[in-house]
Symmetry: C2
Subunit: 315 residues, 2 copies
Amino acid sequence: MSKLPVIVGGTIAIDNVITPQAEAKELLGGSASYAALAASYFTSPVHLVGIIGHDYPQRHIEMLEDHGVTLDGVERSAGESFTWTGEYHANMNDRTTHRVGLNVLENWQVKVPASIAATPIVVLANMSPDNQLQMLAGSTASSRFVIADTMDLWINIANERLHDVLKELDLFVINEGEAREFTETSNLILAGKRILAKGPRNVIIKLGEFGAMLFSGEAENWEISQQTFFRSAAFPLHEVADPTGAGDTFLGALAGYLASLGKTSFSFEDIRQAVVKGSILASFTCEEFSTRKLQSLDSGEIAKREQLFKHLTDW
Amino acid sequence: MSKLPVIVGGTIAIDNVITPQAEAKELLGGSASYAALAASYFTSPVHLVGIIGHDYPQRHIEMLEDHGVTLDGVERSAGESFTWTGEYHANMNDRTTHRVGLNVLENWQVKVPASIAATPIVVLANMSPDNQLQMLAGSTASSRFVIADTMDLWINIANERLHDVLKELDLFVINEGEAREFTETSNLILAGKRILAKGPRNVIIKLGEFGAMLFSGEAENWEISQQTFFRSAAFPLHEVADPTGAGDTFLGALAGYLASLGKTSFSFEDIRQAVVKGSILASFTCEEFSTRKLQSLDSGEIAKREQLFKHLTDW
């Protein structure tokens, strides 16, 4: 079958990032930017849905277009772009947000143009659950596969709406700390099971440098088996320059890979493989600031890393 | 080749453990107890070296003997046994030590009886670096493979002596937090490389519920490759009843498996497989208090879990 297109909705940001080693400004950021770019390595077109202000750097837009990302779904507002300024500390896991400029995001209502509304692989990257539901309402595909991510903020301030999103999902991606918080348990296996019970047919708990866990199947009587659970490592890195966007990259690569299979219904094995692609692409994102590494990959480099990853984890 | 014996030196304790769910007293504890018991599933005999007081429960001794663990190297002192009382908190990772009764450990000098001194697979389970060096001095095997573990306490109060131990090792096992502290870096790949530079030919960083990393080869110019690095997951558990001794179990199972290969020089592939055995056995230890689960295994149960583990992590 031929590859399918992907539609990715989420934030498009201007990031300013400080790490113990360096500092960089006016970077391409935002959940949808990373996810769309990552997806572009596996399928095309990738339709981006989001909002930017009048001040958004033209070079970021051009780079995305160069990767086969379409911008018909990106609203250009007269306001100022969404900006995030944050700092990573010595362990590169903890970060402090210094400033968030919501700006154009504040009253954003997601609109999906008719030209891309029927896109069958739908990615709701991290944005408010209200925005995620608006994007879903604008999706007209008769057969589709819906994947979403979230963040701790929405668990805290929009918990009910987030539960509404969960009921619509084929695959939900959440990170470790958020999963523990969301399900009020410290045991991640139990957390995965509890999230399955909230609606999604598949759940991935991202573990950062420790990889990811995939849970699949009916929540009732769910048990660990080779058809319901997969544990992936993360590709080992000597040095993490900037982990911003690694989770969004994971999400987008996973979606792009699934779209490349040319269908909207996936086996457990398909999703296992997608988790591996997500892990590989996320490792590249961590190697340089922003999308600098992610935007300059070629398929040979990705395949080579995947092969090494296989050797490093196989037994 | 026929299986080789293992000698395991370390602590033999009476543990009192509190978890959020339950509490249990007068348990078999200590690094060497877990390690010896775990090793016994792969090879025999397993020679235990340690010290106990007059009050040590006879039932624990008998259980160990039932598993082919010999006690000729266990000194029986007129003093009181080493005891540890600790409590696990909700996440089962953090624990508080309520009381440590060093007792017989306080002035212990390790003596290895001549009858077991030539044992070729040598395990220095967690005890003071001084005790580890005494045990090594008592080992007379012309060809041997030496494996050691440690804990944060020794990094803090016996750092120099710990470095002396490291120079003698074929394989050093340390947990994540300790590795970061010991090498003053948050990056675990860098930590592994730095520990290799301290002497051991192989290093394992244990990641608790996230598995383990194996580093091997010359520290100088060390790079990640399929001959120098292996990343193992941990077997997923719905419920952790008591993680005490999981790391010691890992160590012992690993050593027992290597001994079962009937040689004292191991390929990277041998050690990879040993890491998997360690992970499997450690998962059993977590399922019940103390050694209750570990002591009641059979080879079919171990093989079955290993097979499932393979399926859950393969791609």
